[in-house]
């Protein structure tokens, strides 16, 4: 077994030959230049050099690749589209990256039972497009949905702006086929949504590729809403926008999405190609999307308008048509692109707090960045209390990078202190493993190791992710009682 950062980066003798035999020469990359593209996912601060990258065509090939890795003592890392933001697909030095993008077929669409069976490399948005003519859609809609894959969504339990009403990936996955870390292929869950036995689907979704490699997914489809209303409320400051969110939640309204874009982001968006015509002097805008039955929406719209007014909104606009709705959303969806233009690097944070605590936490978050001289902006899923503080920076400046990382930790500490957690949708990955202790104690983490141990007793599947570096999963690796070289 190859421990994280422990082995030399060259492949084990014979491994590449075995992999080429399984997937074919053209689907096995081991040339250092070809491997460069796989050194990291969308969290580019973490990188690793794999021994090889394979692109299997089907689940049998995945299983054979896993067995070959085991035979040659190599660890392996599943990878979807590489859009993850926590380094979950960062390769292990000397390990094998198993890229699932070629398993990209929708295998079945069953409108009567409202489900679809897909391969892991199917792009999230492509599934919704495929079922739209049937009046259906796939609800989880991460911001990267035009590129990210369902397999990656399963690994990360991805959410998106519409999570507030529809839930995250785990609420929409009914069954899975998984290649276990020993190469065995198993089916988990049931297309009925009521499996017999332990809820292993629930355990695997969000396990960040550490329990096996997902090779087939049965998902629930939702009915396209009959009607949609989108409102854009302009506030003098972000605190009053947050207050409006709290009031909307408290009175029992459940919009499909409640998104806030702060002043710093508005400035960047309006200066970019994503300009949505927002007033540049606005302190924050709140985007509210209501969906459902046409008869219910007008009154809900009026209530939202009134709540926003009471919270201090300078004006509230309701999208008159689809074009205007798209313009409203452009302010939200173009935010990352616009922020990316401000500096060479963008660190997208992810944390969740109880919604009533949003105003004070945001104030703290901004103060942390200001104190460290960092350029921070906020665009976030306010309805879920899911913050995304974005820091624009230049990694070539080591001092600035140090400030960015230190601010990141302080931001997470502030969120935890407010009763929150350190990830709402990006996952722990390589990025936040050392911060898991902000939320969980030793016993909690040890319980999680028991789950890991049941699936992957030797810690060869996506090692170096999710768990803190030291002291963990000794049970899973009895030889590592010294704790300092545990491969998990």
């Amino acid at each position: 077994m190859t421990g994280a950062g422990a082995a030399p980066s060259g492949p084990a003798p014979g491994l590449v030959g075995a992999l080429r035999e399984i997937v074919g020469d053209e689907a096995c990359l081991f040339d250092p230049v070809a491997l460069l593209a796989y050194e990291c996912d969308a969290l580019t601060l973490h990188a690793g050099r794999p021994a090889a990258v394979v692109l299997p065509r089907d689940k049998q090939e995945i299983a054979r690749v896993v067995r070959a890795c085991r035979r040659f003592g190599a660890s392996f890392v599943p990878r979807g589209a590489g859009t993850g933001l926590s380094g979950g697909a960062t390769p292990t030095e000397g390990g094998v990256v198993i890229e699932c993008s070629r398993l990209d077929r929708i295998l079945a669409i069953d409108p009567e039972n409202r489900l679809a069976v897909v391969q892991p490399g199917v792009v999230n948005a492509a599934l919704s497009e495929a079922v739209r003519p049937l009046g259906l859609f796939y609800a989880p809609d991460p911001s990267s949905q035009s590129a990210c894959t369902i397999g990656g969504n399963v690994a990360e339990n991805s959410g998106g702006p519409h999570t507030l009403k529809y839930g995250t990936t785990v609420n929409h996955v009914l069954a899975l086929e998984l290649v276990l870390p020993d190469g065995e292929l198993v089916r988990l869950g049931s297309p009925t949504g009521w499996a017999s036995g332990y809820d292993l689907v629930g355990a695997v979704v969000g396990s960040e590729g550490t329990l096996g490699i997902v090779c087939e997914v049965t998902v629930r489809l939702c009915e396209l809403p009959e009607s949609v209303e989108t409102l854009l409320a302009v506030f003098p400051d972000v605190v009053s926008a947050c207050r409006a969110v709290g009031a909307i939640i408290q009175c029992g309204l459940l919009p499909a999405a409640l998104e806030i874009v702060d002043r710093r982001t508005i400035e960047a968006v309006e200066a970019s190609v994503y300009a949505a015509g927002l007033p540049r002097d606005a302190g924050a805008v709140l985007l509210v999307e209501l969906d459902g039955a046409a008869v219910a929406l007008p009154r809900q719209c009026e209530r939202i308008r009134a709540i926003c007014g009471d919270a201090g909104a300078a004006r509230v606009e309701v999208a008159r048509d689809a074009a205007e709705r798209r313009r409203f959303w452009r302010a939200r969806k173009g935010a990352f692109g616009a922020m990316g233009r401000l500096a060479p690097d963008l660190y997208v944070h992810d944390a969740v707090v109880p919604r009533a605590r949003l105003p004070e936490v945001l104030e703290r978050v901004c103060a942390i960045a200001d104190r460290r001289g960092l350029r921070l902006s906020n665009v976030f899923h306010a309805g879920d209390g899911n913050l995304h503080p974005n820091i624009s920076f230049d990694r070539r400046d080591p001092e600035q990078l140090e400030q960015v990382l230190a601010a990141g930790r302080e931001i997470l500490e502030a969120c935890v202190a407010a009763g929150g957690v350190i990830s709402g949708e990006h996952g722990i990955g390589a990025e936040k493993r050392e911060y898991l202790r902000l939320v969980f104690g030793d016993d909690d983490l040890e319980a999680m190791c028991r789950l890991r141990g049941a699936f992957d007793p030797e810690g060869v599947c996506n090692p170096g992710k999710l768990f803190p570096t030291t002291r963990f999963c000794a049970e899973a690796n009895p030889k590592a009682r010294g704790y300092d070289r545990v491969a998990l």
Binding site: A203, Q250, A296, V421
Partner: protein, 423 residues
């Protein structure tokens, strides 16, 4: 139980926590001791002592689901969660609450009565507790609108089989911080840990509620119609009951043949009115007493006759018609939730007839396969359960389940033998 074992439990859980009594029969096992730890720390000490001494325990809330699961193997003590009762936190701004596992759902509903929030659980049974509801992942008639229990829990504290107290999730409504161990505990029937407390996401209280019923005719097209109606936006509970049960639910509308449809709508007044009108236009539904849902719930949890068997099937909704026709031919009285594909099939026997049970068991296996799902024998006399796995055929290879059981309950003391695969 040995005297020193009893002494160890008493010491672990506190004076007065252990009670010896006349044997109580739980699903074929006679249990003479009950242990009621007063708090989580005492529960953890008690479970640790059980593990060290290999004392098997049946975990129990109110005991309303005592018939669930395989017959227990070698349990000596009833481990009650009723000492872990109480609403610990309710945040009306967030619509979340945290309560001890032993809290009765009725107490939580009372606490929420004046608020804008509704508890999203309504399982049958006398005074079900929060812990029991989650351990059994028990749905009630309103699961059509509420969703599955596993989708409503935000955070969970559990005591594992060796006494380790572990927390997972949190109080926020969106969370991917660490593994989701909640999902493992929910529906594990207490075989991987004793649930100590949970954070629950509440549901906004509906502005308007209406109950309607209609005679729906028979045949597969009636089931298909039920499926379509269960997809109405305001449907909180939609059920089909066959003619043998209809009298007990809505006497005035009970059909002489075919199904009775019972629907509870909840939500915005405009939406509820629209959906009620649709029900009336499409199937001639008429207003029914709100009590119909409570009667439906009771029916879901009851068995029939001197000797009763009650199964819960989960099938694909487009196969409900054929599955229920087959079950009716096998002699079942049926309650169907077309929104989720859950079917409650009840059989009444006049005498302990093993051959009849075998026949029914086989018919249920066939129906489950035909429906693309599985069947669970929820309630039966101990003799009828013997030598079967009441959970039916496993969906997956049991080796993962065994590996989990070995790690979460290494001494095998939590509900020994009761879960799927005899775990």
């Amino acid at each position: 139980m040995r005297v020193d074992d009893a002494e160890a439990l008493r010491k672990a859980a506190g004076d007065g926590a252990l009670e010896q009594h006349a044997p109580i029969e739980v699903d074929g096992a006679a249990i003479e001791f009950s242990l009621r730890p007063p708090d989580g720390a005492a529960l953890a000490r008690a479970v640790r002592a059980m593990a060290e001494r290999r004392i098997g325990a049946l975990v129990q809330g109110s005991g309303s689901k005592g018939s669930l699961g395989n017959s227990p193997r070698g349990a000596q003590v009833l481990l009650s969660t009723r000492g872990l009762a109480g609403l610990r936190d309710f945040d009306p701004e967030e619509g979340v609450l945290r309560a001890g596992a032993g809290t009765r759902l009725g107490e939580l509903r009372d606490a929420l009565r004046a608020s804008a929030w509704e508890l999203p659980f309504d399982p049958p049974g006398a005074h079900p507790t929060l812990g029991g509801t989650l351990a059994a992942a028990a749905p009630g008639p309103r699961h059509t609108g509420f969703g599955r229990p596993r989708d409503l829990v935000l955070g969970l504290d559990a005591v594992l089989g060796d006494g380790v107290r572990a927390r997972c999730g949190g109080r926020v409504v969106k969370n991917v911080t660490g593994y989701d161990l909640m999902k493992l505990q929910i529906g594990a029937h207490g075989s991987l840990g004793v649930i100590e407390a949970a954070w629950i996401r509440l549901r906004p209280r509906a502005e308007s509620e209406r109950t309607l019923a209609a005679a729906l005719g028979s045949g597969p097209e009636a089931c298909a119609r039920g499926v379509a109606l269960a997809r109405l936006a305001s449907a909180r509970a939609v059920a089909l009951v066959d003619k043998s049960l209809a009298e007990a639910i809505v006497p005035s509308l009970a059909p002489s043949a075919g199904w009775l449809l019972v629907a509870e709508l909840a939500g915005d007044e405009a939406l509820v009115s629209r959906d009620a009108a649709r029900l009336t236009e499409t199937v001639g539904a008429a207003p029914a007493s709100p009590g119909a849902i409570a009667r439906l719930r009771a029916l879901q949890g009851e068995t029939l006759g001197p000797i009763g068997l009650r199964f819960r099937l989960a099938v694909l909704v487009d196969r409900l018609g054929e599955v229920s026709a087959d079950l009716a031919r096998a002699g079942a009285a049926l309650l169907v939730y077309p929104g989720s594909g859950l079917v409650y099939a009840r059989f009444a026997l006049d005498e302990p007839d093993g051959a009849a049970v075998d026949r029914i068991w086989r018919a249920l296996g066939v129906a489950a396969r035909q429906g693309g799902g599985h069947a669970l024998l929820e309630s039966a006399p101990a003799w009828a359960k013997a030598a079967r796995d009441v959970f039916g055929e496993p969906d997956a290879d049991l080796s993962l389940a065994r590996a989990l059981k070995a790690r979460f309950d290494p001494a095998g003391v939590l509900n020994p033998g009761r879960f799927a695969g005899g775990l």
